[in-house]
Symmetry: C2
Subunit: 131 residues, 2 copies
DNA sequence: GTCTTAATCAACCAAACGGTTGATCAACCG
DNA sequence: CGGTTGATCAACCGTTTGGTTGATTAAGAC
């Protein structure tokens, strides 16, 4: 996924109205009027929100006479979680490695009692040093 | 997760500079100067970006003399994927249910040959009707 | 003390965002 | 045909965003 697409996708989800639309669309396709119904804004504003979602690749639109049903693209959502998880898992695994490593050094600290602050403070400090 | 927090979190990720910072931080904590290094913008601008990430709850900051190391909060990232997946999975499961349902109705269509367009068009149309 | 380093605060600016009103297009209905 | 419905286009407006420059705070280093 390119930077620009990620920009637009995350930006699209950064608005509560558009997130509510995504929530609604997860239960099935909907028209502009149906999507507008829960909100106290003009239909033009709703139309713009949908265009933002569409330009972000999160939804697609078809034609049904004068209606323009909106369809949520689950694959696009999956690409977003994939981006986040990539770094979340990296950070988590690094954290787990440190926990193991500190489990070992805790024993070492017990055998070197010259430390004046031998509790969890120690753990936090070691984690910072290891960046 | 509250609406406001989601607003700020998704907004924070909607900028390529801040996403690059998240990527960098997934490999370990970093200072403002370290985070600024890859970018051709002033350190003040970088500082603002970090504040955006911090206010969004995606990173935390500690003190080390005059340095202010930034730490990525993996749990916050997890809350974001949880929000997305909630609706992604709903949409996907609905899609799967339709596929099963259409497997059955395809047989029915074969026994009612008055249909003038009995191929995949049929599938798309039935999926739309079922919203 | 003075000097350097790390980072922030403050004021400003152009561009983008979310919203409005008013006009227009496109397809069905009678 | 004219009228209604669904939706968009166009112009405008206040606020926010991402960036700048310049001044300031805070902690070491000499």
């Amino acid at each position: 996924m390119e930077q620009d697409a990620l920009d637009r996708a995350f930006m699209a989800l950064a608005d509560p109205v558009r997130r509510a639309m995504v929530a609604r669309l997860s239960r099935g396709d909907a028209t502009v009027n149906e999507l507008a119904e829960p909100f106290a804004i003009t239909k033009q504003a709703v139309s713009k929100h949908i265009q933002v979602l569409e330009h972000a690749g999160l939804v697609t639109r078809s034609r049904d006479a004068q209606r323009r049903p909106v369809h949520l693209d689950a694959a696009a959502l999956e690409r977003l979680t994939a981006w986040i998880d990539q770094y979340r898992l990296l950070a988590e695994s690094r954290f787990r490695q440190l926990d193991e490593l500190l489990g070992a050094s805790q024993n070492a600290a017990a055998s070197h009692p010259e430390q004046e602050n031998p509790e969890q403070e120690n753990t936090a400090k070691k984690k910072e040093e290891l960046r």
